[in-house]
Assembly symmetry: C2
Homo-oligomer: 300 residues x 2
């Protein structure tokens, strides 16, 4: 199966799962951000992780789509005026720009429980224990131990370091800065990648060792993805990325590039991508799709 | 058992369940609103509903406390500047006034998945099927089919009817207004009461009929509670209620009192309380605590 096919399947299922009933405004708002054109990386990683263990795609689709809904939730709230205050996302107006702040807050809230509801309603062939394991992973990743911990420290870091310009002056960055940035990336970005592959592996009945290897793979891929994102913030364009760029640099934000400089960012990115490939090879996880994703991140 | 004892047990468990770990700011913010002094009506109703079926209080406490956490979540987000913009809640500053808007949004988000995580982690004696049933009830009540539907229409109603002064002019209110207000109260208020008693009854292994009767009981109690709240908004004081009052009237908001007038509000409240008592009697649900709660609502 090609990545384009998987993307199309995920898009169709998301459209099917995101029903619009009364009161339509809230369901439309939820669906708006979920259906924005995206790479669908997280659901594809979830599906691919399950496919490594021979799982039929239909058994993993509810969970894969739920993770994309959770991702959309984080985007809606991150874009709010009281957070990053972004007007554009994936080339379109952000949720609160279309539906207003109050509805955007509520749409994000609603997605947080709509997503696991989709898992419960549509995972007909999974047994209760497996569903509970997946829900437990979901709660851990979605909450204050997961993505929210990353977002909180991202906000705190802006207060600590503003403007942040470490790489202008040699060796200015501290061990503490490096640890803080790693914590933010681990939670804000890696936690959803980890959730995706772990749920796929759990549905596939992976062994403890296999689950650990895939978790390490997803963690590294998440960090690589975030480094690529930080690089693109300085080198890409609005047309390519669909969101306002250069904001991090302008605001003097703590990023991988502002902390370590562009050269080290690029070489660390390459190193992480190679480590990801090694994990796949060592475990005989043969996946063309994972390789395609790694190459896309590398080529940022 | 007296209601004061139950309140104390719930308060102790909430304090125990609301851990504060790194990053402390978000966990402190979550705990702040959960621990504000409150009547703990919803968890007490959950416990009492389970006790009707002989359930040990320890088996229902995680679910009861989770429902109070969900309630706190709705308070944090309802109080935000982009929603009701309230500065005080239960006599203390609202969450965003203490922690800032960004953290308040995230604390609400975090509680939405922290609450069901508490159910999963601590309901040691419940089997997987029962836990999945409870989680399913939780997702339904917490999301766009539940409390959020009510909050959305509350916001929409303010746009439709502002200022709303129907009872100044005889027969001015329309069937449509009445239906809208009923929808708002059903979802914004009754849905959490229903969640509470339904979860208690499910844990107790209630029959279909018993579950339906308790659901009807909770729905009516929720409406009664909301009528009482609308009455108190015009007749009580900040010192008694711990929040800014008279705002609804000042804003010309659609409430039970503004729609039907004070006299009908009071008589409908009494009628609902009697209907609640009848449901308890007809089903031989003997509960001093439910009677105490009904009397308190009636005496608003």
């Amino acid at each position: 199966m090609k990545i384009e096919e998987l993307t199309e399947i995920v898009n169709q299922k998301l459209d099917e799962y995101m029903e619009v009933v009364y009161p339509q405004k809230i369901f439309k708002s939820m669906k708006y951000t979920v259906m924005l054109p995206g790479k669908r990386l997280r659901p594809i990683m979830c599906i691919e992780s399950a496919r490594l263990f021979g799982v039929d795609i239909n058994e993993v689709l509810p969970t894969a789509c739920a993770i994309e809904m959770l991702h959309a939730q984080t985007l809606i709230h991150d874009d709010l005026p009281c957070m990053d205050n972004d007007d554009y996302r994936r080339g379109k107006l952000t949720n609160h720009k279309v539906f207003g702040e109050a509805i955007a807050v509520l749409a994000g809230d609603a997605l947080l429980t709509y997503a696991p509801q989709i898992i419960l309603k549509h995972s007909k062939k999974l047994n209760s224990e497996t569903i509970l394991k997946i829900l437990s992973e979901y709660f851990q990743a979605a909450g204050a131990y997961g993505v929210i911990a990353g977002q909180v420290m991202d906000i705190e870091a802006e207060k600590l370091h503003s403007p942040y310009q470490a790489y202008d002056v040699e060796n200015k960055y501290t061990e503490q800065d490096a640890e803080l940035l790693h914590f933010i990336h681990l939670h804000k970005t890696s936690d959803l990648f980890k959730l995706a592959v772990r749920c796929g592996a759990i549905i596939g009945g992976a062994s403890g060792n296999e689950l650990n290897s895939l978790t390490e793979f997803a963690e590294k891929m998440g960090i690589a993805f975030q480094i690529a994102d930080d690089i693109l913030d300085e080198t890409s364009t609005f047309d390519k990325m669909g969101k306002t760029l250069g904001k991090d640099k302008e605001a003097g934000k703590l990023t991988y590039v502002s902390l370590y400089g562009m050269d080290k960012a690029k070489s660390d990115l390459n190193k992480l991508i190679e480590e990801c490939s090694s994990i796949l090879n060592e475990n005989n996880f043969n996946s063309e799709i994972f390789e395609v994703i790694l190459n896309k991140i590398k080529a940022c």
